[in-house]
Symmetry: C2
Subunit: 222 residues, 2 copies
């Protein structure tokens, strides 16, 4: 369990709050794009970027020229949101999303050690497209120098999960209105080869069979 | 065109920056979950929530008990990200996402006028599930009171778009590595009726045929 703090305890719908490591890790491992919030001159900025979890560390992909990459040591909030569906209740008020989200608060650390940085970038590619990292040309010195990797420790963490059917007011269940959940999933289409690709090179199986949710997760979440 | 400011001008990959209203509106109208960043005691928070655009105003769904709902007038950053695919290059460094994102900076205004609030909530439901708002039981007084709607003007706005095939270094094109784009779309599954639903009530066509991208958009974006 992650210890709750004043900053991670949910004020709103606390029954949806989840703090166990297993659930938090599962959310972070299924997602691959996070939204990072940071503050410059009192103004919050929120930018999407790729990430990977390694143990109790989150590695964020950045660029040395970006606002985020330029400011290691900043307080950040990293949020990962998985939208699993739309919850259609009989009452407007009870409409909702089926979702799982994780929120990580902490300070970024610029990953300077070349070995840690290399391992993090390798893990990042492998997290997003398992099987890919063994095939590609690894980064050279100048590419690694142009990439900023930021680490955020998984210490102050919370998750929020909504599952199950709509919850309407008792008197509304008699209304002749369809209610239920429309499930949503991020689905891969047909891989589109680079126009400059030698077409003798087949689509790798890890691309053709890419899917985000593990069979285990599908089972648990229905 | 939205006027660029020091805060919305892209430092990183400026060629991906887009400021025309049409593109920004299209991104905001296709998405339905945004990530809102705000600051409390120097700590940024990023939370997902539903939203709708009406003209040059973004309406965010909140709750009066949430950190966000409690703090109208705050500086926020509202980011909407659409992930269209994974870009698989020959070099690790050139891997990327196909994406369209919009970033709105501004101050929230608590929507207090009952008519504006009602219209915004109606538009919100209709934005997420077109056709739904005519069928459901509208919010009553106490439900409306428990819902916070925050408005953010579309004034300081930027978008970032990546399309097209991977861009590798010239010497890498000869490598025997598959390269291309794996397209991703948010796809609806079979609607799951509420276990308490009278099964004589059929799935409405606006649920069965729900899709996010308009045919026009599909055509443009391939």
């Amino acid at each position: 369990m992650y210890q709750t703090t004043k900053r991670t305890r949910l004020g709103r719908l606390p029954e949806r709050g989840v703090y166990d490591r297993e659930t938090v890790h599962a959310i972070l491992d299924e997602g691959f794009v996070c939204h990072v919030g940071f503050v410059v001159d009192g103004q919050p900025y929120v930018i999407p970027t790729g990430y990977v979890r390694a143990g109790e560390t989150l590695y964020l992909h950045g660029s040395t020229g970006s606002r985020l990459g330029l400011r290691p040591g900043d307080q950040v909030c990293v949020t990962v949101t998985l939208i699993d569906g739309i919850v259609l209740a009989r009452a407007a008020f009870h409409h909702s999303f089926q979702y799982r989200s994780a929120v990580v608060l902490g300070r970024t650390r610029l990953v300077a050690d070349p070995e840690e940085k290399d391992a993090a970038l390798h893990a990042l590619v492998e997290h997003i497209v398992p099987g890919r990292s063994a095939e590609i040309r690894p980064g050279d010195g100048s590419e690694l120098a142009a990439t900023a990797v930021l680490a955020v420790p998984l210490e102050e963490v919370s998750a929020k999960v909504r599952t199950g059917p709509p919850k309407d007011d008792e008197e509304d269940y008699a209304l002749p209105i369809w209610a239920g959940v429309l499930p949503l999933t991020l689905t891969p289409g047909e891989p589109e080869p680079d126009p400059r690709l030698d077409l003798a090179i087949p689509v790798p199986s890890y691309v053709a069979a890419w899917e985000r949710r593990s069979p285990a997760l599908r089972q648990t979440a229905g």
